[in-house]
Structure formats: structure tokens, C-alpha cells
């Protein structure tokens, strides 16, 4: 009767989550990660039922313990060969989605060169904040992802404003049908990525980066021309989203 089992403590649960992310970050095989995490979950559950000290299992230094486990597991070279092109495809989808959604997909030298740099920078920032934050604590996780969100949103707004004042370097403009095709293609990539990574991240990111062009399109022209107003509204949306996320997390914890 599964319902009668004791539930893992928050400390153990957090450790397992950190361990999984730590091993993913170090390119270990999914199968190996699942095997280790499942075994440890059963182990921790039994230890807690027997009243053992969890520190004896996960080690006094959690990071050292995770490093120890990581060293024992081989690097997933084959997985990385398929993973890297998938990441590139995902980056392209992130870049194309907002414009195609508004029916304005076009390719320009400025967008390709500087936009690619910004996508890579944003993802690097998010990855850093996500892994660093989650290893430390829930508060760090929320603070770091929140800060990186503010930085990347501001960078994107600045980029779009800058792009508008640059000489036109467009060499391809999509037709309405092509725009629809691009949107569908991007959505398929996001869903596939979410299913593969078993996380909502690849769904949340396009939503966040689409807020900027959608807000611009929806806002009245008078407000639209004021970059400060756009940034303030975006920050308001972001802060609201994080407060909601934080409250949901807290509620989940209480339950």
C-alpha cells in the first residue's frame, strides 16, 4: 500500500534533487542517474524510518559526497553527441518564436549575429543561476533565477530597442504561411525538449521571451514608444510571476 509509506524528509528530498541536477550537469547517463537516485531514495526512506541520522548517508559535506558519486559514474559521450545539436536547435527555436508568433519573422545580419550571442548569454546565465541556486537552497534558487530573469529581460528589451535604430540588414522576410509553419515547428521543438528533459523550462523560456514582442504589439503606441514604460511593465509581469511561483512552492511545501 503505497499510501501508507512514510514520506521522505525535506532534507533528503532536497539532497536527491541536488544530486540529480549535479549529475546531469556533469554529463552522466540518464539511466545511471535514475538508478543511483532511486536506490538512494529507498535507502534514505528506510534510514529515516529506522531513525538513522541522514548526515551519515549523504555525508557531512553534501557537495563532497556528490563529487564522490559523480567520479564513480562514466561521462555520457554518446548522449552529448546527440544533446549538443538538440541544444543548438532549441536555441534557434527560441530566437525564431517571438517574431514568427507576431507574423514578422525575418532574418537579418544584426539579428543573427547579436541575437545569437544574446540567446547564448541568457541561457548561460539561466543555467548558472539554476544550478548554483538549486545546490544552495530554495531561497538562493529563487533569488538567483529572479535576478537572472531581470538581467536577461532588460538585455532583450535593450537589444530590440537597439535593433530598431540600426540600418536594415534584412535578407529574408517570411510569408504569413511560413510564419505559421515556424511557430508550429518551434512548438514541436519546445514540447519535445520538455518531454526529453522532463521539465517545464523549455516551455517557460519561450513564454517569457515572447512577452516582450507581444507586450509591444498589445500596448498602445504612446506607451510603446517609451522604453522605460515597457521595462517597468515587463518587470511587473516578471515579479508577479515569481511571487505566484513562490506562493505555489510554499503551498506545496505545507501540503
Amino acid at each position: 500500500m503505497k499510501g501508507e509509506y512514510k514520506v521522505l524528509s525535506q532534507q533528503s528530498h532536497q539532497f536527491l534533487l541536488e544530486l540529480r541536477l549535479y549529475l546531469v550537469q556533469r554529463g552522466k547517463k540518464d539511466q545511471d542517474i535514475n538508478s543511483i537516485v532511486e536506490e538512494l531514495e529507498t535507502h534514505l526512506l528506510q534510514a529515516e524510518q529506522n531513525g538513522d541520522d541522514v548526515k551519515e548517508i549523504i555525508g557531512k559535506s553534501r557537495k563532497h559526497h556528490m563529487q564522490h558519486i559523480s567520479k564513480e559514474l562514466p561521462f555520457d559521450t554518446k548522449g552529448m553527441i546527440t544533446f549538443l545539436p538538440a541544444v543548438v536547435l532549441l536555441l534557434i527555436a527560441y530566437m525564431s518564436f517571438p517574431a514568427a508568433l507576431l507574423g514578422h519573422f525575418s532574418l537579418s545580419h544584426n539579428l543573427l549575429i547579436f541575437g545569437s550571442l544574446l540567446v547564448i548569454l541568457s541561457l548561460a546565465l539561466f543555467t548558472f543561476a539554476f544550478f548554483k541556486g538549486v545546490i544552495k537552497s530554495s531561497l538562493w534558487f529563487i533569488t538567483l533565477t529572479f535576478l537572472s530573469q531581470i538581467v536577461t529581460t532588460s538585455l532583450w528589451v535593450a537589444f530590440y530597442i537597439w535593433l530598431r535604430h540600426q540600418p536594415d540588414s534584412t535578407y529574408f522576410v517570411a510569408t504569413p504561411l511560413q510564419n505559421v509553419g515556424i511557430v508550429i515547428g518551434c512548438i514541436i521543438i519546445f514540447i519535445a525538449s520538455a518531454l526529453y528533459s522532463k521539465s517545464w523550462i523549455s516551455i517557460i523560456i519561450p513564454f517569457v521571451i515572447s512577452i516582450i514582442p507581444i507586450t509591444e504589439a498589445v500596448l498602445p503606441a504612446r506607451l510603446n514608444k517609451d522604453p522605460l514604460m515597457v521595462i517597468s511593465l515587463l518587470l511587473l509581469v516578471v515579479v508577479g510571476a515569481y511571487l505566484l511561483f513562490y506562493m505555489l512552492k510554499k503551498k506545496e511545501k505545507h501540503e
Binding site: S35, Q49, G59, I69, E72
Partner: protein, 130 residues
């Protein structure tokens, strides 16, 4: 045996080659732990938590319990142990480990290696007048 391991680890804490000595001791301890895990599995089918309790009963106190799972996974990949999932009344399914034929051979080889090392170290410690 446990005393010897502790001595090896402690010896590595002095002198300028401290780091190298520590690495050697850790490496040696790792090999010993592998052999002991296999020997315990050889006593009869066992699951992870039970295995760590037995290791502690035998005197292995200074290891983090979670670290045995990557070792078991590697042993399984090397074909030294086999595993079977079985239902448990106390919680989720448990993975029981058993020795394979290759594992049995490895335990015998470990016993032989250990006996040789033990003899050599004892000779150095006793006949060498340490």
C-alpha cells in the same frame, strides 16, 4: 584490517607528499571496499541499506553510505553482481544483489591479493622493527 586502513589513511596526513599519500590510501581503501562489498554479497542476497549496515557492523565507520550505490552499479555493469527488484512491506521495491560466477571468482582473487598484501605489511611492521 580496519586498523590497517586507518593507519594507511593517517600515515598520509604528514609530510610534503601528503596529497599523494592520501590519494594512494584512498585508492587502496577503494579497492578494499570493493572486495569487502563483494564478499558480503557472497554471504547471501542483500539490498543496499542492509549492505551498509553490515559494513558498519564489520567496522567500516568512515564512509558515506550513499557512495556504495555507484560501486554497485559499476559491479553490475562489470557482470560481478546481478540484481532483482522485490516488493517490500516497509516501503518501495528493494533491489537485491547477488554474486555472479564472475563475482565469485573476483572474491577469491581479492582474498588472495589481500592475503599477500597483509603478509607483506605484517612482515614490514613486525620484522622491520616498527
Amino acid at each position: 584490517m580496519v586498523f590497517l586502513i586507518h593507519t594507511l589513511v593517517l600515515q598520509g596526513t604528514k609530510g610534503t607528499r601528503k596529497a599523494n599519500r592520501m590519494a594512494d590510501a584512498t585508492q587502496m581503501l577503494k579497492g578494499i571496499l570493493d572486495g569487502c562489498i563483494l564478499a558480503i554479497i557472497g554471504e547471501g542476497e542483500i539490498y543496499g541499506y542492509e549492505l551498509t549496515q553490515k559494513l558498519r557492523e564489520y567496522g567500516f565507520q568512515s564512509f558515506s553510505e550513499g557512495t556504495i550505490y555507484p560501486l554497485l552499479l559499476r559491479m553490475q555493469k562489470e557482470g560481478l553482481v546481478t540484481s532483482t527488484l522485490r516488493a517490500s512491506t516497509a516501503g518501495p521495491k528493494r533491489k537485491y544483489y547477488a554474486l555472479s560466477r564472475a563475482g565469485e571468482r573476483e572474491v577469491e582473487a581479492f582474498k588472495k591479493r589481500w592475503s599477500e598484501v597483509k603478509q607483506s605489511v605484517e612482515k614490514v611492521l613486525h620484522e622491520g622493527g616498527v
